[in-house]
Amino acid sequence: MQIANLHKVFDNDVVAIENLSLEINPGEFVAILGPSGCGKSTLLRIIAGLEKPTGGTVQIGQGKIAYVFQDSHLLPWRNVLRNAALPLELAGVDRADRIAAAREALSQVGLADAVQRYPAQLSGGMKMRVSMARAMVTHPDFLLLDEPFAALDEINRQKLDEQLRKLWLLHRMTVIFVTHSTAEATFLADRAVVLSARPARIVADLLIDLPADRPAAIRSTPAFAAITQKIYDALERGGA
């Protein structure tokens, strides 16, 4: 994926992104960090094609895109299974196939037993899992996540991070994960791109040199702490 000289100016003349270039390799897990309101979400929306850039280009070639929002945003009138099957339904996949795919995606996030429940009957963490299953159901080539677990408590957040990392190891799609948690970025990603305060420019592009398979306990190792600190320093340089 090639992002070249990206500019974004909003209607109210606020410059959100200024001359940003970034190359992301297929199958890479990239975390994007930056201070609140710096344009991270805007960048993600432009990559997804939900917003048009003012200048510059985003080339992603062929591939399916999936997007996970800050909240789960499920359809409350559909049960878990039919929520997860929605993207395939919109793509015209027939019923039996999309239900089978939704069941598989749900079992990969540990919700095989909750398929008949309705969103109102789920906890926040479970809703977010359904949202992830819905994103994964199409087997996307690009998975874009916009601070997906920010509203969850610490324990649920860490569990979902672990789940996401496992999903990535299984499917190896390209992941772009927007967050403002340095520890979350370190745990999840193989590369951390740190943006400055608005207008967003790249302050640092750091390699996260940890083993591919990351147990929960990796969070208390010195290597983990050192990388988290490096990301933190970069954020501070960027004016967070």
């Binding site: 359809l75 009138w77 929605l86 919109l90 793509a91 109102a120």
Partner: protein, 261 residues
């Protein structure tokens, strides 16, 4: 999630109010002793029972007109709301004129209805429609325009057609708001029918409650006026209850707004 209250717990406060109102009315009417001004509850019930055949036949006529008016409001209002939600240009062009339904005094257009339809069911049902359609349009429009923008994005991302967006996203998420409009419209349709019957109803064997009220008043039968008003109120209440039940059945499982009604 809230525990559902038992039937008894739901029913006793309004029943208590009703009993208190009946007792007050009884004491007041007995003390006044002017049946023409204020009949006692007992006299109202007595006349309602004596004239039950007339009242039931009038109720049938009124119910028919009210239901036709209500269903036209429901169908027309939802369709109009959907059309208005299509684009902001359409909305700006047409929405001000839908407010007409909200503000037009029905008594002022009654002569026109009389000229166009003649007296009788079509004109009365049209009154019910005019009086009750606006809340449905407004409810539908509000509901359709307040769809979760993230879900709109999601549908766009997966290349959903306009059709799929409407049927799988906007309309279902607008349902609670549409039902709010329908609930208001149900009561208004009955009011519109009774008023319509005052203005453009037909007298005779098939006369509705509104006509009965007018003729009972002319005869000085205040007790019969009360009885007819009571029956009309019960009709409004019944329609409201049916809409509520439909809303519960359709939305009960997922809409927070339906979990505590």
């Amino acid at each position: 999630m809230k525990r559902t209250r038992s039937f008894f717990a739901v029913i006793w406060p309004p029943v208590l109010v009703l009993i208190a109102a009946i007792i007050t009315l009884h004491i007041w009417a007995s003390a006044l002793d002017e049946p023409f001004l204020l009949p006692t509850p007992r006299a109202i019930v007595r006349i309602a029972i004596n004239r039950r055949h007339d009242l039931l036949s009038a109720l049938g006529t009124t119910t028919e007109a009210a239901l036709i008016g209500f269903f036209c409001s429901a169908g027309g209002g939802i369709a109009a709301g959907m059309a208005l939600s299509a684009s902001s240009l359409v909305r700006r062009a047409f929405y001000p004129y839908t407010v007409f339904f909200q503000t037009v005094p029905i008594i002022a257009v009654a002569p026109l209805l009389m000229i166009w339809c003649g007296p009788g069911l079509p004109a009365v049902a049209l009154c019910a429609f005019i009086v009750s359609v606006f809340p449905v349009i407004a409810g539908t429009l509000t509901g359709l325009l307040s769809t979760d923008p993230a879900l709109e994005d999601l549908f766009r991302l997966y290349g959903a057609s306009r059709w799929a967006k409407m049927w799988k996203l906007r309309l279902p998420s607008a349902l609670p708001s549409i039902f709010t409009g329908l609930r208001v419209a149900a009561g208004l349709a009955v009011i519109g029918t009774v008023v319509g019957e005052f203005l453009v109803g037909v007298y005779g064997p098939n006369e509705g409650l509104g006509v009965r009220i007018v003729s009972a008043k002319k005869q000085g039968r205040t007790d019969e006026v009360f009885a007819a008003v009571l029956v009309a109120s019960l009709l409004g209440l019944a329609m409201f209850a049916i809409i509520n039940l439909a809303a519960k059945l359709l939305l009960g499982r997922w809409h927070a707004s339906e979990q505590d009604h």
